[in-house]
């Protein structure tokens, strides 16, 4: 028993020293990668990490930032606000990072960015699309993705003008991201003079949505918009088709993953599903050779992988140009200049949003791939 106690004490002391050892060495620049590396959304954390890791490897191979090599630090928030704040404090205070790539879930990003903003750190999220992230007037906050309100507009225009839908049902997953998307959709539908016939939320983590699908039938929806992630969108579309609901499903960037096909039970179910996403980064000429390298190493750079890569590129470009790691200087430079990234040229407005949002409609095809719809 006594040895147990001493053991626990030793573990604590050791942890303390370990934590304290993470100070910046001369000649290295530490960048944090924060996101869900455990919990239900861990797949997206992995995309962030893969992208950032590859970017850092490439930058270091080209001589780093004026000779300094970059080092990445992982910060796991499990998509939980409390952990996000703890991780943010840890990255700032203990790990002494100079910039942060992350977080993923908007509910984590919003409180965590308050910590970075207070510390004057450059923080760029590759994946949080909730408008609130950049709406709070913090100077050192950016994103390399679009905003849900832009996504909702593109989605609503498509549903009304292309699909000519009259009875639109809006479903969300009761989470910051999914609900934000659904609200944006609802709002723009209203400006187009259409009132949705159903607006309800399903529970994340469940797989049986049959009751909801029957309800879609009872309200005679002719288009279904879903704000949420692929893990729920897959079973939802499958159960719709199995119950004989033929209305098209439209969703946002949260279903942008090959896993969507797997979780729907095969390509035949995702056939005809529409989604909004940035112009596919994997198809851009600027990213072709990188995508090749990813695929050679046995990893498909899907979803946010290239967004994370581009985020690191933007940070590095700013650091190289300003010869500084100070958040305010980097932020000012990013807002004044255009960065050449793997996803094309990017520039930011005063809020930290991308100047050009390039949301377009995609359609999943019967072979389980997706293709851009002609604009």
């Amino acid at each position: 028993m006594n040895s147990m106690r001493t053991g626990a004490l030793a573990l604590l002391v050791w942890g303390w020293m370990w934590g304290g050892a993470g100070l910046a060495d001369a000649g290295t620049v530490r960048i944090g990668v924060a996101g869900p590396f455990s919990g239900g959304q861990a797949a997206f954390g992995e995309q962030f990490w893969r992208g950032a890791e590859q970017a850092v490897k490439d930058v270091n191979a080209q001589g780093g930032i004026h000779g300094d090599t970059i080092e990445l630090v992982k910060g796991d928030d499990s998509c939980e606000p409390k952990q996000a704040v703890a991780v943010a404090n840890r990255l700032v205070d203990l790990e002494k990072v100079v910039a942060v790539v992350g977080h993923f879930c908007s509910a984590s990003t919003i409180p965590a960015f308050e910590v970075y903003a207070e510390a004057g750190l450059l923080a760029i999220t590759p994946g949080s699309t909730n408008p609130k992230v950049t709406e709070r007037g913090f100077p050192t906050i950016f994103r390399t993705c679009g905003r849900d309100d832009q996504q909702g507009v593109v989605g609503a225009e498509f549903v009304v003008k292309q699909l000519k839908a009259q009875r639109v049902a809006v479903i969300h997953d009761k989470d910051t991201y999914g609900q934000g998307l659904a609200d944006a959709m609802k709002a723009h539908l209203a400006t187009l003079g259409l009132k949705e016939v159903l607006y309800e939320g399903l529970t994340r983590g469940e797989k049986d949505f049959n009751a909801l699908v029957t309800k879609l039938r009872s309200v005679k929806a002719d288009a279904v918009y879903f704000g949420g992630l692929h893990s729920e969108a897959g079973p939802l579309v499958r159960q719709m088709r199995e119950q004989g609901v033929t209305a098209p499903l439209i969703s946002g960037d949260g279903i942008m993953s090959e896993t969507f096909v797997t979780s729907a039970g095969g390509p035949k179910f995702v056939d005809g599903v529409f989604m909004t996403f940035g112009a596919d980064p994997r198809k851009l000429p600027t990213g072709l050779s990188l995508v090749e390298r990813f695929r050679k190493s046995g990893y498909e750079p899907e979803g946010y992988t290239l967004y994370a890569y581009a985020t690191v590129q933007a940070m590095v470009a700013a650091m190289r140009a300003t010869k500084s790691t100070e958040g305010a200087k980097l932020a000012a430079w990013l807002k004044a200049n255009t960065v050449e990234t793997v996803m094309g040229n990017k520039s930011w407005n005063a809020k930290g949003d991308l100047k050009i949002s390039d949301y377009v409609m995609y359609r999943w095809t019967s072979d389980g791939k997706y293709e851009e719809l002609p604009r």
């Binding site: 028993m1 006594n2 147990m4 106690r5 626990a8 573990l11 604590l12 942890g15 303390w16 370990w18 934590g19 590396f37 455990s38 992982k74 796991d76 998509c79 939980e80 606000p81 409390k82 704040v85 703890a86 991780v87 404090n89 840890r90 700032v92 205070d93 203990l94 509910a107 919003i110 409180p111 308050e114 207070e118 510390a119 909730n130 609130k132 009761k174 989470d175 910051t176 609900q179 934000g180 939320g201 090959e258 797997t262």
Partner: protein, 409 residues
């Protein structure tokens, strides 16, 4: 010897059967990828572990014959109790000044868990009522401050008593019909209630903001702000005291305030345990029928324990909201209830000192384990299972209230 070997080989075979399908191959789309070395290593690990365990058990068996020394640490703690308490208080007061913002935040969280642990300890440890939805009252406290501020510009200082009262009110209203149930049914009802509160907070968009959560301001001290710039009509603390600004001050302030609350709670529980009410709690835990035959009203006694626990959780919730600056229903899941229960059980039910130690360990440990981000959950789970095997009565064990001659006379 052959028997032990045989056991170990058997364990290895079972381990192979368990690990080959789940670790030997991994799903990749609709096909499989092989990792044949993984189950083999795991099985080898299990065989060695089984051998070591057998050896360890045998050694312990041999020790049973000899009289076991009482743990010298326990004895030492007993002998030096006042000094330890004074040292702990001084240490806790000094700690915030030099540990930095990150550990300061961890320390605040640890204190919140100490408070929650102490509250649940009254319910589970003293009164013996298993509550699996403790987090509901915690959420009530946090949202009292968040919603109160949002709609009525409620200040932190008003939110603390209001949150405590509301949480206690919820506790009493819930518990009243439920308390006549037998132990484990109470557990289920509280679990259901915890989920109901969380779901309502998540779904009632118009009022609670749903998953988007609510922003919560930082408390002020005598009308002074802790921010870099003062909000209109206020002065900032650093300007008032004419000291350079540091974003740590407000955390230090919160830490010290919380420390005060925790001390108050420890004192309250200590006093209550010696009073008739506290003794009734423990008597009821031990034998309800005997209590009833002695004229103790089980419902009122249970209600008081439940209400006190809920009140503590409400205060903890207000502090949690203030320290995070943001509340959102994801902080109030069942896992949070389980975490608080784990604190109480690991600390040794009924033991105040144990609960404090367990709360600190269980808050700091996951942060330390952050360096093994990948394996954090696994290690945390293992720690829980192993602790229950080695010290099922918790770190400090239970210390029954006894009448000592000196106390009576």
């Amino acid at each position: 010897m052959p028997r032990k070997l045989w056991d170990a080989v058997l364990a290895g075979v079972v381990a192979l059967l368990l690990f080959v399908p789940l670790t030997g191959v991994s799903l990749s789309g609709y096909t499989l990828e092989g990792h044949w070395q993984r189950p083999l290593w795991l099985a080898v690990g299990v065989v060695l572990g089984r051998l070591l365990l057998g050896w360890f058990l045998e050694r312990r068996q041999r020790m049973v014959g000899t009289t076991r020394r009482p743990g010298w640490i326990t004895a030492w703690i007993d002998d030096h109790r006042p000094y330890i308490v004074i040292a702990a208080v001084i240490g806790a007061l000094l700690v915030p000044w030099w540990i930095g913002k990150y550990w300061l935040n961890v320390a605040i969280l640890a204190l919140i868990y100490v408070l929650l642990g102490l509250g649940l300890n009254v319910v589970v440890g003293l009164a013996g009522l298993l509550d699996l939805g403790f987090v509901a009252f915690y959420a009530v406290g946090a949202y009292t401050y968040a919603l109160g501020h949002h709609y009525f510009a409620l200040s932190f200082w008003a939110a603390v008593p209001l949150g405590a009262m509301l949480a206690a009110g919820f506790g009493v209203v819930l518990a009243f019909p439920v308390l006549r149930m037998h132990g484990d049914y109470l557990a289920i009802v509280t679990l259901g209630f915890g989920e109901i509160i969380r779901l309502i907070l998540n779904n009632w968009l118009e009022v609670t903001g749903g998953p988007n959560g609510l922003r919560v301001p930082f408390p002020s001290l005598f009308g002074m702000d802790f921010g870099r710039r003062a909000s209109p009509g206020h002065v900032t603390l650093h300007e008032f005291l004419n000291i350079p600004y540091s974003n740590e001050y407000r955390d230090i302030f919160l830490y010290l305030l919380l420390f005060l609350v925790v001390c108050g709670m420890v004192f309250l529980v200590r006093r209550l345990r010696r009073m008739p009410l506290g003794r009734n709690w423990e008597a009821l835990r031990e034998d309800e029928i005997a209590c009833r035959s002695l004229g103790i009203q089980p419902v009122t006694v249970k209600l008081s324990a439940f209400g006190l626990g809920a009140m503590t959780a409400g205060v903890g919730g207000v502090f949690f909201a203030a320290s995070q600056g943001f509340v959102n229903p994801t902080s109030f899941t069942f896992l949070e209830s389980a975490h608080i229960l784990a604190i109480v059980v690991l600390g040794g039910m009924g033991s105040t000192g144990g609960v404090i130690v367990a709360a600190v360990v269980l808050t700091v440990l996951p942060e330390v384990l952050r360096d093994f981000a990948e394996y954090r959950g696994l290690l945390f789970g293992c720690a829980m299972v192993l602790m229950m095997m080695w010290r099922p009565r918790g770190l400090m064990g239970i210390r029954r209230a006894r009448f000592h001659r000196s106390e009576v006379g």
